[in-house]
Symmetry: C2
Subunit: 199 residues, 2 copies
Amino acid sequence: MYRLYDSAISGNAYKVRLLLHKLSLPVERIEMNVDDGSTRQAGFLARNPVGQVPVLELGDGSFLAQSNAILVYLAEGTRFWPSDRLTRARGLQWMFFEQYNHEPTIAVVRHCIAHLGWTADREPLPGKIAGGYRALGIMDDHLKTHDFFAGRSFSVADIALYAYTHVADEGGFDLTPYPALRAWLKRVSEDDRHIAITA
Amino acid sequence: MYRLYDSAISGNAYKVRLLLHKLSLPVERIEMNVDDGSTRQAGFLARNPVGQVPVLELGDGSFLAQSNAILVYLAEGTRFWPSDRLTRARGLQWMFFEQYNHEPTIAVVRHCIAHLGWTADREPLPGKIAGGYRALGIMDDHLKTHDFFAGRSFSVADIALYAYTHVADEGGFDLTPYPALRAWLKRVSEDDRHIAITA
């Protein structure tokens, strides 16, 4: 039995919920408030020194943090993690892109606008909005000639990138110019045992 | 034979050079200028749409980007990648930490101060310096009770975190308050077949 330190508004936490559901793995969810500083208290820092959700507590009482590391941990040996070495590395390439180029722009803009009520012209949002559109363009270019991000099948790389892309509109991002990306969002949502971020 | 699109001043590129050397894998190095926009030209973007070094060209002509994804690709099946599933995930946890919390602070501060000649009070450096010290503190806390980052042995997680930590002083970071971290830097530099970032 897994325990997930979770947040309903976190796309990073949603990645883990989505994969646990696809794998039919039961989980106890502990909802954390990511805005009131409670993930920076000593009790939570003992689970993840970085002070972020999600954190997955394993059956032996150990804790695993970083959404994309949790995804790989859960996916190993399943259809969600490629069997080919280069395809696995390609999945990691996109998952590091997600954490370096995509999450710090698209997720931060969404959080500030949709949850904190900021306007889009407040610093540092203008630069992050531009960076977010650059990330969306890179994804769309890839998807013009590929159905998924790592090889020919749905994998955790798709889950990692779907989480904040499919709610990018909540941060004001317009996905109209990216038809290949929009077709991929639909493909991901049609994979078996999909659940919504609000589930 | 590998070909590495490289930069002598990039810690991310050094990670790959260091592991290739440890694995006794020959490589042809193509030095890129990371400041004049040449990695944002169409020719290079065809190798890595994000426009960053390092990029590893494989024997079959395909390209792999994202330093930490390259590390895992090269390390699989060697002593540098843990054989245990949870220990591998722990390594990925620290490698995602490196790209989310450590590189965007410590590496960016070093680049702006040591290579672009900025002063430490120029925006956005003050916030990045604070974030860098927070990352160093998290590493030091871990190293008070662990010799390495993933399990009990040296792995690519150590290479990933070593790359910019050992040159953090070039960005003005003072490592004196972190004795466990300094002892780990020495352990990493004493692992077999170590080479300097300037090699």
